[in-house]
Amino acid sequence: MPTKKLVTSYEQDLKLFPDMWHKVGLIAALAFLLVFPMVASAKWVTIANLTATSIVGAIGLMILTGFAGQISLGHAAFLAVGAYTVAVLGNEFQVPWWLGMPLAGMAAALVGLAIGPFALRLRGLYLAIVTIGLLFLVAHVLHSFGDITGGVSGIAVPMYTGLGDATFDAPWEFGDYEIPFEKKLYLVYVTIAVGAALVSKNIQRSDLGRAMIAVRDHDLAAAVLGVNPARTKIIAFALSSFFAGVAGAMFAYQQQYITIEPPFDLNMSVQYIAMIVLGGIGTTFGAVAGAIGFTVISPLAESVGRHIPFLSENLTSAQQSTVLFAVVVCLFLIYEPLGLLGFWLRIKRYFSAWPFKY
């Protein structure tokens, strides 16, 4: 049973939006994104902002782990580098946010490039453990330069607009209608997230993305076919950490005050891995769906946890949502290896075969 139209040429295969349904879906999604902040409460707009941050971070990890097959448990380290870059730049030099974000990405990408040589020599689990080491090292460095980073007590993240001392958190006012901070952020963050998804889609269908997939599936075979595995892996690391750095900056600007751990600890790395596994590994759709699923499940899990008698008496709300979420992820991993992508494919298959069962 086909889930996709028969492709007869490379041009067709490379199209971003291969048929009418994709375009309709895209327009519907954009319309939803525009209408959402007008109807949603401040709480849900904030959740949407976190989702956008997670989407950018998850896309970064998807490039590295999903496309290029390099397992990294140090993703949070790159987010931390991004977050602290904008925090320090903002505090010391009053760097505006639109300059801070790409700089955060670049700072993280530099760290990613530094990991490159290790990635070339190590595989699989060895690499995974070394990236945990990176996470601890970054946390240690951030802690020990406390006079710049604030150390254990954390640091405020000012969001300058570049116009004198003006900061971004003042609401915009149009007559008697005003756009508060979280909705302003929403506009910026959704644009970045959509842009990141497009970039990732384009990487996936270009020669670079295909080289990554070849390296993931078998790097020796890829080398025989003329792909340079070393170069591909290093580019994957740099790209991935760029996205992570931007996500870190987004996180920092939204929180306005950050500390080192939590949130930038192993738990965060694991959450990002959970996102891409939940969404479906190896696709941009997976990163986006996983990030949305993850950030929306957490508040839901909290409200469900309150109603489970034994749990709610003995655990904090954060612990409740952690355990419910962990159980959901375990069940997914065991019963639905393709994640949300698997669900989606099954729904598509059902409707394209309708009214028959198969």
Partner: protein
Amino acid sequence: MSTFLQLTISGLALGAVYALVALGFVVIYRASQVFNFAQGEFLTIGAFSMVAISSQGVPWYVALVAAMVITGALAAGIERLVLRRMIGRQVFVTIILTIFIGLVLRTLVVLVWGTDPVGMPTPWEMTKSFELGTASILANSLAGIVAGALALTAFFLVNKYTKLGVAMRATAGDQEVALALGIPVGRIFGSTWFIAGALAALGGIFLGMFPRTVDANLGFVALRAFPAVIVGGLESPGGAVVAGVLLGVLEVWCQGYLNPQLGHFGHNFHAVFPYIVMIVFLMIRPYGMFGTKDVERV
């Protein structure tokens, strides 16, 4: 000189715990190519069940064995119920699964035993110590070293001379051939998890005695045992033990000698030091001390 001796002994005690944890990782990894991130939680569960059992008035040594058996059985149960279904799936997916099993277990620990730290009972006085030259050694850390050494010897004897050990080695070598030769591979997986769980429990009990008390975060020490596994080579039990002891000693030496030298940067530097040793070491030998290089067919 007395500082040196003192540091070395407490390093050995810490190293014995690392070795026990690292050996647990390696035993599971060799048999089923699963890297078990929930190992730290077995440590915590072992320590807490020890406290719970001995508070019922059970003699100390009986409680020790009981705690090991309980933790081992729990580990084997998790393998049978969850990880057995994952055979043949990507390595990556099983890693993630064990991380989340660990999260669930940690929450269970909090549910059952709460978050307050408790003291580990000892058959001797808490602060009893021996004089060795100019250094004084806590009975607790000495017991940790001795118990670690005994457990490790027992493991290597079992591995070398018993039927179970031979079957375990055969499964590690080639699962399909082992199956064809009539070795019950599934049961071997179960036994490796049992052994790993029991070793972790022992580590947790002795860790809970000396440098720390028993609380829900005891298992984080497993994160510090990772470098031992990697430096030793993922597939080598001997390597895990040697590297575990070595890194334990190095860590304490670093805490004693290097940290004060580094000024502000040295604060807690010993916590990341094993990782630095690991990264440097992997640059020289990417497969660890005794690990084998993969030979691949295209």
